[in-house]
């Protein structure tokens, strides 16, 4: 199980439960139809300076009057000037975030959760297989690899979305390719202007050669996609301990106290969201658990 967490999250209030720090929206990037990235900077410069996060962690973003939403951090952990959150507009809180403008202020608590084991992955081939809104929590891991490229072996990104219009961060793919990351893309359905692959993410595993002794698989996305990606990885004899998953459940407190995000014995917010697969395997296929 991946156990590291940041000992003292910079943006929480230990005396007043759930009271957030405040951050200003410095810019908004429209990504795809229902997703935009919000770039935040703490209104208190001391907190901005003290705030660090690891790839895979998340913040609780708070819209007063609506509530909080757990949003993965999708920006470069080396960049201390701002923090990026790609938000999909699906509910009350996220739609309220969607109405924010540059200059508005939002509550922020974090960072929370376990992170991608970038140190442990050094020297290995890294196969990142994700889809849809599963790419944002992996982007900081990709940035980390870009900053430390020589420490990793063969690095592949197999990324899929529903249609070509739903692919995120496409303007960065060529930069990643230049840094010797094999970026392969697929969609569930396309039109005649799409010249790339059409077919679900897990089915393309057959096109890659895996050295099962030194490959680690990182995955995130709809849970059904994760299931099949893991089947494919296991079919290629990649050990359970080399597969890392980012899971998601309803979160309220982010700190392992309110109970909502439990999956079996684990609180997804503090024992996850990044798990080594062998830890969650016993509960993985239990329906409605």
């Amino acid at each position: 199980m991946v156990t590291q967490q940041i000992a003292r999250p910079a943006a929480i209030n230990t005396e007043h439960l759930l009271e957030p720090q405040w951050a200003e929206v410095t810019s908004i990037t429209k990504e795809i139809n229902d997703v935009s990235t919000y770039w935040l900077k703490f209104t208190d410069p001391a907190i901005q300076k003290a705030y660090t996060f690891e790839p895979g962690q998340f913040n609780m973003l708070y819209m007063p009057g609506f509530g909080e939403s757990a949003i993965s951090i999708c920006s470069d952990s080396n960049d201390h000037s701002k923090i990026g959150h790609s938000v999909r507009f699906v509910g009350n809180v996220t739609n309220a975030i969607g109405r924010l403008k540059v200059g508005d202020v939002i509550g922020l608590r974090g960072p929370f959760g376990t992170y991608w084991p970038m140190k442990e992955l050094e020297g290995k081939d890294v196969f990142i297989s994700c889809g849809g809104i599963g790419l944002p929590p992996l982007r900081p891991a990709i940035y980390h690899i870009l900053h430390n490229r020589e420490k990793y072996g063969k690095v592949t990104l197999l990324y899929g979305a529903r249609t070509p219009a739903d692919l995120m961060y496409t303007n960065e793919f060529d930069d990643w390719r230049k840094a010797n990351i094999d970026v392969q893309v697929t969609v569930d359905r396309g039109d005649s202007s799409w010249t790339g692959r059409v077919g679900v993410v897990p089915m393309w595993f057959y096109q890659f050669r895996f050295d099962s002794r030194k490959t680690a698989v990182l995955t995130c996305g709809p849970e059904i996609m994760i299931h099949f990606v893991i089947y494919e990885a296991l079919a290629r004899r990649i050990p359970l301990e080399s597969i890392f998953v980012s899971m998601e459940r309803n979160m309220k407190c982010g700190q392992g106290s309110c109970g909502h995000c439990q999956l079996g014995p684990y609180f997804i917010c503090k024992d996850g969201p990044v798990f080594r697969f062998d830890a969650i395997q016993p509960f993985f296929n239990v329906e409605e658990f």
């Binding site: 967490q5 230990t14 005396e15 007043h16 439960l17 759930l18 009271e19 405040w22 209104t43 007063p64 009057g65 609506f66 509530g67 909080e68 999909r88 699906v90 509910g91 996220t94 200059g103 508005d104 202020v105 509550g107 709809p222 998601e248 459940r249 309803n250 309220k252 407190c253 700190q255 392992g256 106290s257 309110c258 109970g259 909502h260 439990q262 079996g264 014995p265 609180f267 503090k270 016993p282 509960f283 239990v286 329906e287 409605e288 658990f289």
Partner: protein, 374 residues
């Protein structure tokens, strides 16, 4: 005895029952709000008590699945009646707690936190199972990586006067859960009620100071044996029992057992069990905003894994059926809780059995997992 003599920690003294009023007075003088069992509307609640006669003297409770009957038999004891639906959890982990209020000033939000003073409670009559439950919740709310400020502030101040159970009720199974009937540790004062006297075991410096100047004698061997016999008899008269030797594995290895479907069909998902359970800790945070959108306040409230919205997130509900929610509750309480906290989450108080309108009894449901297991 000289007036400034205090009994030692660990010693058991004997006092006349009327002297107990003096202890209650002293607690009030020291600023404690004394809370104890009281009869109200044909049931027992935990409410402020002023003096001994506020206690349910002469009452017993008859309890069974979906059955609670408070009965006055006219006996002379104060602490016989096994508690009702309420537990001490509502005082340390209040059902509603205001977290902070926000006011919008020039596009920024200004926070203010409530001015209320943290109460100092003295819990009068904490049963062994209830004390075990408090200790379980201590482990959940006060951890090295997360410390709930609301719980901690109240818990630091609380005075615990526990009481040994001599007359368990029909749904009690603290013996099976190894939490009672004898109170072991974690109290300030522990009370054992015999026919004519109270025995008080001293558990802390605060308790010692409280007793300073009260005339006492150390309890004789005869009285201590009397107490032991009462507890042994109580231990043999438990209303229910549960074999925990194969927990948590029995549950965790049978998550797809057909019995969950059977219980799920009976369960109403009413959340009674989670409300009355003294260890359940799930909570939610709600926002209430003014109509002009300029002010809001945030509250923490109890939640329950049986609530349909509990596991709802964008994309749907991970536990849409009652079967899955019942399984979550039981597999947590007597299963995964162990890995999370080092102990099982159930203390054997029996409230979930008594207060379930569908008569679901976990001491009967769990053995079913063993019987039909394929």
């Amino acid at each position: 005895m000289p007036n400034d003599h205090k009994p030692e920690i660990g010693s058991t003294i004997v006092i006349q029952k009327e002297t107990f009023n003096a202890i209650l007075s002293r607690l009030k003088e020291k600023g404690y709000e004394t809370i104890g069992p009281r009869v109200k509307n044909d049931t027992l609640i935990y409410a402020p008590i002023e003096q001994m006669d506020d206690l349910p003297r002469g009452y017993i409770t008859e309890q069974d699945a979906a059955r609670f009957h408070l009965k006055h038999t006219g006996h002379s004891r104060y602490f016989d009646a096994i508690p009702g639906a309420q537990s001490w959890k509502q005082f340390l982990f209040p059902p509603r707690a205001e977290l902070f209020a926000l006011r919008k000033v020039n596009n920024l939000w200004e926070a203010s936190t409530p001015e209320t003073k943290t109460p100092s409670y003295a819990f009068i009559g904490v049963r062994a199972c209830e004390l075990a439950a408090i200790q379980i919740q201590d482990n959940i709310f006060m951890r090295s990586d997360f410390n709930d400020p609301i719980y901690r502030a109240r818990r630091e101040r609380v005075f615990i006067l526990s009481v040994d159970c001599m007359y368990p009720a029909g749904t009690c199974f603290c013996v099976s859960m190894e939490t009672g009937p004898r109170v072991k540790a974690g109290f300030d004062l522990n009370l054992t009620e015999l026919e004519d006297v109270f025995l008080l075991t001293v558990g802390s410096e605060i308790a010692r100071d409280l007793l300073k100047g009260i005339p006492f004698e150390l309890a004789s061997a005869f009285l201590l044996r009397n107490a032991d016999q009462g507890l042994e008899r109580a231990a043999s008269q438990m209303g229910r029992k549960l074999d925990i030797s194969n927990l948590p594995d029995l549950i965790l290895n049978n998550l797809d057992h057909p019995h969950w479907q059977e219980v799920g069909a009976r369960c109403l998902s009413c959340t009674n069990c989670t409300q009355v359970c003294p260890t359940c800790f799930c909570w939610d945070a709600t926002d209430e905003m003014s109509l002009d959108g300029k002010e809001t306040h945030r509250e923490r409230v109890w939640d329950s894994c049986f609530n349909p919205g509990y596991s709802y997130q964008a994309g749907g509900n991970t536990r849409p059926t009652i079967r899955s929610r019942y399984r979550q509750w039981l597999s947590h309480k007597l299963g995964t809780w162990k890995q999370q906290n080092g102990t099982l989450g159930c203390v054997g108080c029996g409230r979930c059995i008594t207060w379930c309108p569908a008569e679901i009894d976990l001491t009967k449901e769990i053995p079913m997992l063993q019987e039909e297991a394929r």
